[in-house]
């Protein structure tokens, strides 16, 4: 590299090299963190701030070869959009000029400043025959930290209005500040390539934030893909779960639920579990009762071992009238899901007892002085689909893209 000039920091007296002498206007002092104006013969102090804030992956002075050209990092900026920050590195080669590297969340882009402006409108622009579409995310970028030297006067707090236009992985970035308009072509570079080029042993980006140029563009690209992947995965899982749930066998009976006593051991029927493991659902449907409930205790008894798996069902319905008008609650139908039933033949029994509300008395059937009995239709079925599992899966699948969408909406994109 050539064109190196040595200046003294007016703040601390430190000796500094201006690597792109004649091009650079601003220079950050490596000793005290002051920002110097090196465009004047007498180097002027622009501002001083804590240099400790300047912790960049590629500190100024680092050299590397990218795209066949040796570059030196002469400046580094940390910028933010109010919600997150990213790093921008100014590269310099005396024969080629300036280029940019933009880094965020482990992703990098190589930027070339355009000399010929793209043409178009707000929604899309055309540059060298290629059409670029406007990205949704259009932030204002504020400069947070400055290290090194730059070809324009740069200061902490500088605000630029940014727009991005995309074409595949490439994008055109438009920055407007102080009446100046700059276009930059950004192309992705892999982190490994950056590691190789600058001799980094292990790439560890300082900022784990969305990049202005990279990640928001990726957000735009990968969100529909995420929804698509989630939908396809849910459909595939549903089909597999339905296949694994079968085959189906049924046993149906109407059981009697007397008031005041439990009628035990009412046989619903016999079912066979054909797969190594299957779910069984028992559906109970009460008759047209009111202000009554029926407790049902199920026993699924393995004929081979005599062991039973127990469960509970409840059918109930209440209604009345109060100061708010009529009300009702409860359901005369209920499902009870049994899991982890191994292959075998099972007898299904039910114990049932009916109750009355609000006073748990024993209603008498008219005429015969016999206790009232409620009929409940009970159907046991193998091959049940565990819908709770599926809805949980769907929720967890969609949570990620929904969260990403919510974050984008919150940022006002």
């Amino acid at each position: 590299m050539s064109g190196v000039r040595t200046v003294s920091c007016p703040n601390c007296g430190g000796s500094l090299e201006v690597r792109a002498a004649g091009y650079s206007v601003s220079l950050g002092c490596r000793y005290c963190g002051s920002i110097l104006d090196v465009s004047r013969p007498e180097v002027a102090l622009i501002a001083a701030y804590n240099r400790e804030a300047a912790t960049f992956t590629l500190p100024p002075g680092v050299r590397g070869t990218l795209f066949g050209t040796e570059w030196q990092v002469v400046g580094a900026l940390r910028r933010s959009d109010g919600d997150g920050s990213w790093d921008e590195y100014l590269l310099f080669n005396p024969y080629v000029g300036y280029r940019w590297l933009v880094a965020s969340e482990g992703e990098w882009q190589f930027g070339t400043i355009l000399l010929d402006r793209p043409e178009g409108d707000v929604d899309s622009v055309t540059w060298r025959g290629a059409r670029y579409t406007r990205a949704m995310y259009q932030p204002d970028a504020t400069t947070e930290t400055v290290v090194g030297e730059f070809y324009w006067r740069v200061a902490r707090g500088d605000l630029a209005r940014c727009s991005s236009y995309e074409r595949g992985d490439d994008s055109l970035s438009l920055e407007e500040s102080d009446g100046e308009v700059n276009w930059t072509l950004l192309v992705p570079v892999s982190a490994r390539e950056i590691e190789r080029a600058f001799g980094l042993k292990r790439y560890a980006p300082v900022n784990k934030r969305q990049s202005l140029y990279v990640s928001h563009a990726d957000d735009t690209d990968d969100l529909p893909r995420m929804y698509l992947i989630a939908t396809v995965a849910a459909i595939v899982a549903l089909v597999l779960m339905l296949v694994l749930a079968g085959p189906t066998q049924r046993a149906v009976a109407v059981i009697k639920a007397p008031f005041g006593t439990t009628r035990e051991g009412q046989l619903i029927g016999t079912i066979a579990i054909a797969r190594p493991w299957q779910f069984v659902t028992i559906h109970a449907q009460g008759s047209d009762f009111e202000n009554r409930w029926v407790d049902i205790d199920y026993s699924i008894v393995d004929r081979a071992t005599g062991q039973s798996v127990d469960g509970y069902g409840l059918v109930e319905h209440y209604s009345g009238r109060d100061s708010d008008g009529t009300w009702s609650e409860g359901s005369r139908a209920t499902n009870t899901l049994f899991g982890r039933l191994p292959r075998g033949t099972y007898d299904i029994y039910a114990d049932a007892q009916a109750h009355a509300w609000p006073v748990d008395e024993v209603p008498q059937a008219s005429g015969w002085n016999a206790p009232e009995v409620l009929d409940v239709r009970v159907e046991a079925r193998t091959g049940s689909m565990p819908w709770g599992n599926f809805w949980t899966l769907l929720l967890l699948l969609m949570a990620v893209p929904l969260l990403a969408t919510w974050r984008r909406v919150r940022r006002g994109e």
Binding site: D222, R225, I229, A237, P276, Q278, T336, L341, F390, L397
Partner: protein, 47 residues
């Protein structure tokens, strides 16, 4: 393809394989067979 998409694909594969395995073994956190019998309070909860 972004790293986020890779992570999401891994997450999706994990969830689907978990759901399919649960179906094969007929396991569900929502099954009722573990519920204690005869534990019902009884009656309407209205007001």
């Amino acid at each position: 393809m972004s790293w986020r998409l890779y992570v999401f694909i891994l997450w999706t594969a994990l969830l689907v394989s978990g759901a399919v395995s649960a179906s094969y073994y007929a396991w569900s956190p929502f099954s009722d067979e573990a519920r204690g019998s005869h534990a019902f309070y009884g009656g309407s909860t209205h007001k």
